[in-house]
Every structure is written in structure tokens, then in C-alpha cells.
């Protein structure tokens, strides 16, 4: 296809927290500056800025790309905003990568963010409609019936979700950027935390976070000249589908499987579980870990929960560590959450993941989904070209 190679040169994040103490512009600037620092690039080296953001209603800032251009050093340069609901951070990284793969730009800054402290995402997701009844309240109410179906389909033990929640919160202890640091959290506490959206417990849900994640991407030429590790992008893929139609596979939507098939084919991956060293997947509710393990082809259908039960997805001895950063369950600045998955996957193969580094990780996956589990974005990154 004549695609140019692209690589990650730098990843920058802010400390995820309930409230970022500065302005939205300042928060983005901090993440971008951190990414530039790792990449060894300056503001003048950036050809274009590609930003991603969840619905405007989440913060009430309409067209934030206009207000935030200067904060991102984007004076006299192209700026573009991507939007695919919760998967937007991943889609944005994919679009930014395609800017380099197409040969249009050499060096691109991409960023996703959310400042949940400025608003109430549950309100924005539960807007009343005239003439209609709405009994839904937030994302948990939407995903709970799907999780119930998965539990019935697999007859998985009831506490698999609690195991995922505890594992991700333990992983988060090794990530200084993670929002939730709960060193004393026990399995019993997770199990005994109140049911919110039965069968989803409070401890099995993600927090509301402020934060931004930025990535500096470079062409092959730029990456070759870079003094330091890079993450080569082996494949990018995006898919979408309608949120409701007869016969829709709600547990493993067709768009999810197609997205995974595409990205692994691009990367030349045959045995997904064996060849992938680390996965950062979008798990806002704990049960989505076993569900995505199956949908992305890391486990046979109906068997994903066994990997959780066996500890296969733990950084502590597992063969397929999932969400070593603590994942969405430990930090959820919505518009950034997909970008964080992509950035953390890159950090793993760059060997720069710090205390949550998977030893010798060579190939990693970043994954994001959004909407009614209807938008998907993935990339595969590798230490070797």
C-alpha cells in the first residue's frame, strides 16, 4: 500500500485526579510539554495537532479546538478534532498516525483529555427527550444488561469482575499518574462494595477523572534520528456499527472483532496471546476485561474469564498482562482514556513504563471502545521496526 512507517517518540500525561488544579488549557499544555520532553522535540518541530475529545456536553465547552490551539503551540499550523465518544482517544491517535503514514506530515502532536470536575458526565448521558420515557442513568445502566448476558452465556463465577477490579487497582499502585491509589484495598472490600447497577458493584466501576494524555508521533526518518527508544506502529484500525439491530452480538460486537482482525493482520500477528506481551484495553466496568479478551481473540469464546481466574492478565506472573497502568478502572478522564491506552502500550515497548514495566515487552496493543459499544480503535506497537 506504500504506507510510510510511523513511530511514537514521546508520551506525556498529567496526574489523573478528581480535580486538576489549573485550567483546561493548562492541563493540555502540561501533557503536551511532557510528551515533547520525552520526544526530544520542541514546539517548532510539530507540523500539526490532532486532538480528541468526548461530547462537548461533558464540559460545556463548544469547539474546544478553537480555544485550545495556542495552548498546544498550534499557531499557523493545522489543527483537527476527532470525536468517537469514549473511544475518541484511540481514534485520535489513529488519525494522527495516518497523517504520517500518508506522507502529509513528519511530526505530529496528538492529545486527548477530559476535565470531569467541570461537569457531570452522567447528566450529559441521561438527557431527557420529549415524548419518551428514559429509565437509563449513565453508562453503567446501559452496560449492566450486557454484562448480565455475558455472565449467563459463560456461566462464569460471580466474582470474576471483582478479581479484575482488584487486579487493576493493584496495578495502579505502580503508576504514579493513576487516579486511584488504594494500597489497602482487599478483595473482600471489592466484593462488599455496594451494587450500583446490579450486577455491577461500585468498586467495579471507573472513577471520574481530570487529565490529559499526549503523544508525539514521527515519520521513519524522524524516528531514526531520535536519540532514544521509539515504539513502531505496526497497525492501526477503527470500526463502527449501529448500537441496536436485530441479531446484534452485544457481548462481542462484529465491529470489535473486525477491528481486532484488521489490526493483527497488519501487524502480522498469528498467535495473539503468545505474540503480544502487554495489552492496554478499555475496561470501564470490570467484566469488560474477560469480554474483550474473547472479542479480541486472546481467549476462546466463553473462556476469557478463565484467564482472569488463573491470573494470566496480572503483571505479577501472568503471560498476558492487561492494563499494567491500572487501566480505565483506575483513571477515567474520558476523552483521554483511549489515548492513555495507546500511550501506555507504546511506553511498554519503549521500556519506559517505569514500575509497571512488563519485562522485555516487545509488542503491545492499545485498545479503546465507545458509545453503545459501537466505536472501536486499536493499534499494535513494537520495539522493532
Amino acid at each position: 500500500m506504500g504506507k510510510e512507517r510511523a513511530a511514537v517518540l514521546g508520551v506525556g500525561q498529567t496526574k489523573y485526579d478528581t480535580t486538576y488544579p489549573g485550567s483546561m488549557a493548562g492541563m493540555l499544555r502540561e501533557a503536551a510539554a511532557n510528551a515533547l520532553e520525552m520526544s526530544g522535540k520542541g514546539w517548532d518541530d510539530i507540523d500539526a495537532v490532532i486532538m480528541g475529545k468526548a461530547p462537548d456536553f461533558f464540559e460545556g465547552v463548544m469547539m474546544p479546538e478553537v480555544y485550545l490551539a495556542e495552548a498546544l503551540g498550534c499557531v499557523g499550523k493545522p489543527i483537527m478534532r476527532v470525536h468517537t465518544a469514549g473511544s475518541v482517544g484511540g481514534s485520535t491517535a489513529c488519525v494522527a498516525t495516518s497523517m504520517i503514514q500518508s506522507g502529509v506530515h513528519e511530526t505530529v502532536l496528538t492529545i486527548g483529555w477530559e476535565k470531569q470536575s467541570e461537569s457531570n458526565a452522567m447528566w450529559a448521558l441521561s438527557l431527557p427527550q420529549p415524548f419518551a420515557t428514559s429509565v437509563n442513568a449513565g453508562a453503567g445502566g446501559y452496560f449492566s444488561p450486557i454484562i448480565r448476558r455475558y455472565m449467563m452465556m459463560t456461566e462464569a463465577p460471580e466474582l470474576i469482575g471483582c478479581m479484575v477490579a482488584l487486579k487493576d487497582r493493584k496495578h495502579a499502585l505502580n503508576n504514579p499518574y493513576a487516579h486511584l491509589h488504594q494500597p489497602d484495598l482487599t478483595f473482600e472490600q471489592v466484593v462488599e462494595s455496594p451494587m450500583l447497577w446490579d450486577p455491577i458493584r461500585y468498586s467495579e466501576t471507573c472513577p471520574s477523572s481530570d487529565g490529559a494524555c499526549a503523544i508525539v508521533l514521527g515519520s521513519e526518518k524522524v524516528a531514526e534520528a531520535h536519540d532514544g527508544p521509539v515504539a513502531w506502529i505496526k497497525g492501526i484500525a477503527m470500526r463502527s456499527e449501529s448500537g441496536s439491530f436485530a441479531g446484534r452480538n452485544m457481548v462481542s460486537p462484529a465491529a470489535s472483532e473486525a477491528c481486532a482482525d484488521d489490526v493483527f493482520a497488519q501487524a502480522g500477528i498469528q498467535d495473539r496471546r503468545k505474540e503480544i506481551d502487554a495489552v492496554e484495553m478499555y475496561v470501564p466496568f470490570s467484566w469488560y476485561e474477560p469480554m474483550w479478551l474473547e472479542s479480541l481473540g486472546f481467549a476462546e469464546k466463553g473462556q476469557g474469564w478463565r484467564m482472569v481466574e488463573e491470573g494470566a492478565t496480572s503483571i505479577d506472573g501472568g503471560d498476558l498482562p492487561v492494563n499494567c497502568s491500572g487501566g480505565v478502572l483506575s483513571s477515567n478522564p474520558i476523552g483521554a482514556s483511549g489515548m492513555i491506552r495507546f500511550g501506555e502500550a507504546a511506553l511498554q515497548v519503549m521500556g519506559l513504563a517505569g514500575d509497571h514495566q512488563v519485562d522485555g515487552a516487545k509488542t503491545a496493543v492499545g485498545h479503546a471502545y465507545g458509545g453503545a459499544a459501537q466505536y472501536y480503535a486499536m493499534w499494535v506497537v513494537g520495539a522493532d521496526k
Binding site: 415524548f131 420515557t133 449513565g138 448476558r149 451494587m195 447497577w197 446490579d198 446484534r248
Partner: protein, 330 residues
């Protein structure tokens, strides 16, 4: 009549909270104290109102500079029909005003009797709101400056509490139009009839009607299909703690995907007259309607869904939802 499309007002309103950071926070703190600040840019010029990053160099800016409260109109336009949230209820001018000591203009309102009282180059002075809180609305607007006004910046008191965050209510008013297919559905609701629409290609029946088949991407058949008010629960959620956004619902309550008999796709409904613990996937249910004299053109005519007591629907594939073939079960 049958083709008449319904409309209804839709108002979205929410008080967002902005964390300001030091530059915007400093500007707002000044307003509360009756002082207007600009910010000094890298080329030495002063931008008012301030921004956190230089629009020309993108460099971070931090040095706040007090500017005057009198300025010069650089251009303007007349607003003959003010809207509810604008600075004045009577007609006024929108003007770009460069305050003394600033190099860039601020957009604000000038309160004069008519457009004849406005001119580019005219001098205007700020009108402060009586009660100030550290918000952009602390400036009520501008009026033509009297000759004695110097507009010298006031001294900023020391040791004042800095503004860290600010509430910015947003209100949007829409006219919601459900469209032709949904309008028919809503009209039928008044007669306790439930209508769905059918895909010409797959035969998929959707309720509420969508006007378009989401699989085939084709318009649905113009003739809508009458459906019974019975069906089954595909899956459900039990909300067990109060949700602040929904004070009308008392937990625990069941929100369930309901698939009507003869429909291919489910929709979300409220479980009624059943303990949450007794709700099952596959449970047969029927609609609980509002009393006849309260029926409107609204889906709210159905209060919820209660068990019929019939044997459960047999579900063989827990991953897939709806009926693949209309009327054919799973």
C-alpha cells in the same frame, strides 16, 4: 393530519464549573475588586481580556497588568433585539473596546439610546455591577465616558482571596422534532396502540419506529405495523442506589430491554409490579398503561412492564439480541 410532524420544546441547562488557573483566575479576582487586568505578551504589548497562551507565539503568559476602565470603541454594531441572557434588556450596541493601557480590544455592550449615539473612536467607560463576585458579568457594560473620567486603574488590594473556579451556567433551547415515523407512533400511543416499522429488505421490525433500517440503510416501509403490548425481557439492570440525576426513580428499580411480540429489536423499559430479585432474562411481560383519561401523544403512556405469568421465553444465544427473523423467536 396523519403526516403532521410533532414538535416539543427541549431545554438543556447545566451549571458547569471551570477551574480557572492563575491567569483567568487573576483577571476574575481583579473584576471582583473593581480592577481590569490585561496580560503582557512576549512583545511587551498588553492583551485584555487576558489569555493564558500567546496567540502569536503560543508562549505561556503570566504577567497581569492593570488597565484603565475607560477605553475607545474601535468598531461596533447595533443589537436591536436583545435576547434573554444578554447584558441589557433594551437595544444596545456590541462594541470592540480597547481599554487605556491595553493593545487589544474587548467585546462588550455599550448602553446608549440609539445607534445614532454610537461612533467608532468614541470614548466609553465601564459600568460595574453593584454586587461583584469574580465573574465576567461583574462588568455590567459600558456607557459613553463623561469628560471627567480618567479611567485610571484602581489599586489592587493586597491579600485578597484568589478566584480558583467559577460557575458558568449554560442553557440551550431547541425545538425537538421526532420526525414522521415517530410522530405516527406517538399519535397511536394516545389510543394505546404500539406501532413499529419494517425494513423492506430484512423484514426487521423496530419499535419505536426509526424511519430507517439500521442494517440495510434503507427507508422503512411507509405502512407501520401494529404490535401487541406484550413481550419478554431480554436482559436487565437493577439500579440499587439513588442516582442524583433521576430523583423520580426510587431504587431498587429494574430497567429492562423489552422485545415486543412481533418486534425484532428491544428497547429500554421500567420493570413494574415485581420484586427486582424475581426478574429473569426471558420473563414474559405486558405494558402497564396510564389511566385512559391521562393518555397523551407520548411513550410515557406506558408506565412500565409487569410479568404476565406465562412461561419464560426460551433464549438460546445469550450473546445476540432481538429476533433475527420477525416473529420467529431466537
Amino acid at each position: 393530519m396523519a403526516d403532521e410532524v410533532l414538535t416539543a420544546p427541549l431545554v438543556l441547562e447545566y451549571p458547569f464549573t471551570r477551574t480557572t488557573g492563575p491567569v483567568i483566575g487573576g483577571f476574575l479576582t481583579g473584576l471582583r475588586e473593581g480592577v481590569i487586568h490585561g496580560v503582557r505578551r512576549s512583545d511587551g504589548t498588553v492583551m485584555c481580556p487576558p489569555l493564558e497562551y500567546d496567540p502569536i507565539t503560543a508562549a505561556p503568559l503570566s504577567e497581569l497588568v492593570a488597565v484603565g476602565t475607560v477605553g475607545t470603541v474601535t468598531t461596533w454594531t447595533w443589537n436591536g433585539e436583545p435576547r434573554a441572557q444578554q447584558p441589557f434588556a433594551q437595544p444596545f450596541a456590541w462594541a470592540m473596546i480597547t481599554l487605556d493601557g491595553a493593545d487589544t480590544p474587548m467585546l462588550h455592550a455599550v448602553f446608549v439610546d440609539s445607534a445614532d449615539d454610537m461612533a467608532t473612536g468614541m470614548r466609553v467607560e465601564v459600568v460595574w455591577r453593584e454586587e461583584r463576585e469574580g465573574h465576567i458579568t461583574d462588568i455590567a457594560g459600558f456607557i459613553p465616558a463623561v469628560a471627567s473620567s480618567t479611567g485610571e486603574p484602581a489599586a489592587m488590594p493586597s491579600d485578597v482571596e484568589q478566584i480558583q473556579s467559577v460557575r458558568t451556567p449554560i442553557r440551550m433551547e431547541y425545538t425537538y422534532t421526532p420526525g414522521r415515523a415517530l410522530s405516527q407512533y406517538l399519535r397511536a400511543m394516545k389510543d394505546k396502540r404500539i406501532l413499529g416499522d419494517k425494513c423492506p429488505e430484512t423484514g426487521e421490525v423496530s419499535v419505536p419506529p426509526r424511519g430507517v433500517s439500521s442494517v440495510a440503510g434503507k427507508p422503512t416501509l411507509p405502512e407501520l405495523v401494529d404490535l401487541p403490548d406484550t413481550g419478554y425481557i431480554e436482559s436487565f439492570n437493577i439500579t440499587r442506589v439513588p442516582i442524583k440525576m433521576r430523583p423520580d426513580l426510587t431504587p431498587p428499580y429494574v430497567s429492562a430491554w423489552i422485545v415486543l411480540d412481533g418486534a425484532s429489536v428491544g428497547f429500554m423499559g421500567l420493570g413494574m409490579n415485581v420484586e427486582p430479585e424475581d426478574v429473569r432474562v426471558g420473563m414474559r411481560v405486558r405494558a402497564v398503561w396510564k389511566p385512559d383519561d391521562e393518555l397523551e401523544m407520548s411513550a410515557q403512556n406506558i408506565l412500565g412492564w409487569e410479568p404476565t405469568g406465562e412461561p419464560d421465553e426460551v433464549i438460546t444465544d445469550y450473546a445476540r439480541v432481538g429476533r433475527l427473523e420477525q416473529g420467529g423467536g431466537q
